[in-house]
């Protein structure tokens, strides 16, 4: 990736992280940890990879994105707002009564959200349905979905995966965000889904393993996925839960709790410093 592009995307990812902190702080609830871990994915998808138009969020030939790990909504909303789907100011209304920014993605009311999600395991099936629809219509849009590593404990993920491979949905990219933490502990402690790449390979996916907080590796993975024919791609990415906020990194306690005022100040100071560093 060109240095200039990379810096632009790093700035975007930092702004997404600031939006996550802003939203969850004002909401006094929400899921910062798993939102922060996918900031680079969201930056790359919405600024480079996907054919989308913030001025025409429902355009028929757009690429689709389904946040199967719907609790990372603060991340998705921050990406959509910074991309121009709705005002960034709206992020501070996250989870508030009357706000369009529901605790989990709501396709009916949020510009740019392609599928309501949040009940784990269902989003991947919805993404599979969209990818299948493209094939049935002879359309060439692509479908992307991000799953949590804890989420793949849901049996429906494997029902969807079996089907996607059986139907040869090469327009589908499933990203598994392997930050290793779920609410009750590490994913091995709770109910280990490891080895993850081997499982998706056995289900018939083309599997790519990357560091999901590394934009160069993300770019290479999505480029590779475009070359794969006849089977869906799974990008299994190691990430750091809480990435970018020092005290949240690798702490499962920040899965589903919001920063308080002091936490907020520290996080925003860190992210502002990062932004200044990037913007020079």
């Amino acid at each position: 990736m060109e240095a200039k592009t990379k810096k632009e995307l790093q700035i975007v990812a930092t702004r997404i992280r600031m939006g996550i902190i802003e939203g969850t702080y004002h909401a006094k609830s929400g899921h910062p940890g798993g939102s922060l871990s996918i900031a680079e994915d969201l930056a790359y998808l919405y600024w480079k990879e996907m054919n989308i138009d913030p001025a025409n969020p429902k355009k028929a030939d757009r690429d689709r994105f389904v946040l199967s790990k719907g609790h990372a909504a603060p991340g998705l909303y921050a990406a959509l707002a910074n991309r121009g789907f709705f005002p960034v100011d709206l992020l501070s209304t996250l989870r508030k009564t009357g706000s369009i920014l529901q605790g989990h993605p709501d396709m009916k009311n949020i510009p740019g959200v392609d599928m309501s999600s949040g009940s784990l395991g269902q989003g991947i099936s919805c993404a599979v349905g969209m990818a299948l629809s493209a094939k049935l219509s002879g359309a060439d849009y692509r479908v992307y979905t991000i799953l949590g590593d804890g989420e793949i404990q849901e049996g429906q993920v494997w029902e969807a995966s079996m089907f996607a491979a059986a139907k040869g949905l090469d327009n589908l990219v499933v990203i598994v965000d392997n930050n290793n933490l779920q609410i009750d502990g590490t994913i091995e402690e709770v109910n280990s889904p490891y080895p993850i790449p081997e499982k998706f390979a056995a289900f018939g996916f083309h599997v790519i393993e990357i560091d999901g907080n590394d934009l160069d590796q993300i770019e290479a993975a999505f480029a590779e996925a475009r070359t794969v024919k006849g089977k869906p791609t799974a990008i299994v990415q190691k990430t750091v839960k809480g990435k970018g906020v020092s005290y949240m990194e690798n702490q499962c306690s920040w899965h589903g709790s919001a920063p308080k005022k002091d936490d907020y100040d520290i996080a925003m100071a860190e992210l502002t410093a990062r932004l200044q560093e990037l913007e020079g």
Partner: protein, 316 residues
């Protein structure tokens, strides 16, 4: 009643899908390995490219249907009522109901008339489950003629619809000329002493019950309530006001189904006795469908008895 002509509503469902497939190139039919039983097999044969079988994975099927609908397809997703409404309840609720997507759930093998397969496959809870999902339309046609109309109305409806069909061949209780509109009950027989509000295969029993009551000098109105949700409040309240008592009849648990829906309307606006004919909060069992319908009290004779109870409960 022309009981020479019998058809299972699932058969009419399958026929209607084939007809709709010709009219709408964006119509997709899904199944979860039960195409021969749900009767989606005809569509599969006619339009193999638009027939999607997920295999035995009903929850996955419902969410895939949602994804298809989110990209502009009209989808009929089929399974037995037990698995469509029961196993896949949460996918129906969250993937389809919450975003109000254009998925039609074709649920066959509802009720005890499934017969020999027994309790695991005899779903008497589906109306109750589906009724609690905001925006869900529930259609429970009485016979093959009405089932076809229901399928076509569902296809034209914008939003999720749950269609309830039976396995058993049942007599025609309606004719081609009987009006069908989502959200409207239809008065099949005029009457003034009691109103029988029936749905599904109990409509034919209700018509027979009305004849038996007539022979005893009791004037029973019969309403076919093919739409359970949104329920036709006007026809219920008119019946409450004009006949003073109501009997409901359905092949469903008396909890949560048509009887509950009618009682809710009546209690809030014009309380009159409502007596429910239905499965008495119990599981079914294996046996020939006709024997089970009798065993679980879903016959004209049961409606006649409950009609007399309802009349006795009327305040003078």
């Amino acid at each position: 009643m022309a009981d020479v002509m019998k058809q299972a509503t699932r058969d009419a469902y399958g026929q209607a899908l084939v007809e709709l497939g010709a009219e709408n190139p964006d119509l997709i039919v899904m199944d979860a390995d039960l195409a021969a039983a749900t009767k989606t097999g005809g569509f599969k044969k006619a339009y193999p490219d638009r027939f999607i079988d997920t295999g035995i994975a009903e929850g996955n099927m419902m969410s895939i249907a949602a994804g298809l609908a989110a990209t502009g397809k009209t989808v009929f997703a089929s399974s037995f009522a037990m698995f469509a409404a029961g196993r896949a309840f949460e996918q129906v609720r969250n993937s389809i109901g919450y975003p109000h997507l254009n998925v039609k759930i074709g649920a066959t093998h509802a009720g005890v008339s499934v017969g020999e397969d027994g309790a695991t496959h005899q779903c008497c809870e589906d109306i109750g489950l589906m009724r609690t999902i905001p925006g869900m339309v529930i259609l429970n046609p009485a016979d093959g003629i009405e089932a076809k109309k229901a399928v076509k109305a569902a296809a034209a409806w914008d939003g999720p619809v749950y269609l309830r069909f039976g396995r058993l061949a049942v007599p025609m209780a309606t004719t081609e000329d009987t009006p069908f509109e989502i959200g409207k009950g239809v008065e099949l027989v005029a009457g003034s002493d009691v109103t029988i509000i029936a749905t599904g295969l109990l409509v034919a029993e209700a018509l027979q019950a009305a004849e038996e009551l007539k022979a005893e000098g009791i004037s029973a109105r019969v309403i076919n309530m093919a739409t359970i949700k949104p329920i036709d409040k006007d026809i219920i309240l008119k019946a409450a006001a004009e006949t003073g008592c109501i009997v409901t009849a359905e092949e469903h648990n008396i909890i949560g189904g048509l009887g509950s829906a009618v009682a809710e309307v009546v209690c809030e606006a014009n309380p009159v006795p409502v007596v429910r004919v239905g499965v008495q909060d119990t599981f079914g069992q294996s046996g020939p469908a006709d024997e089970l319908l009798t065993l679980y009290g879903l016959r004209a004779a049961n409606i006649v008895a409950k009609a007399k109870e309802a009349i006795a409960l009327k305040k003078n």
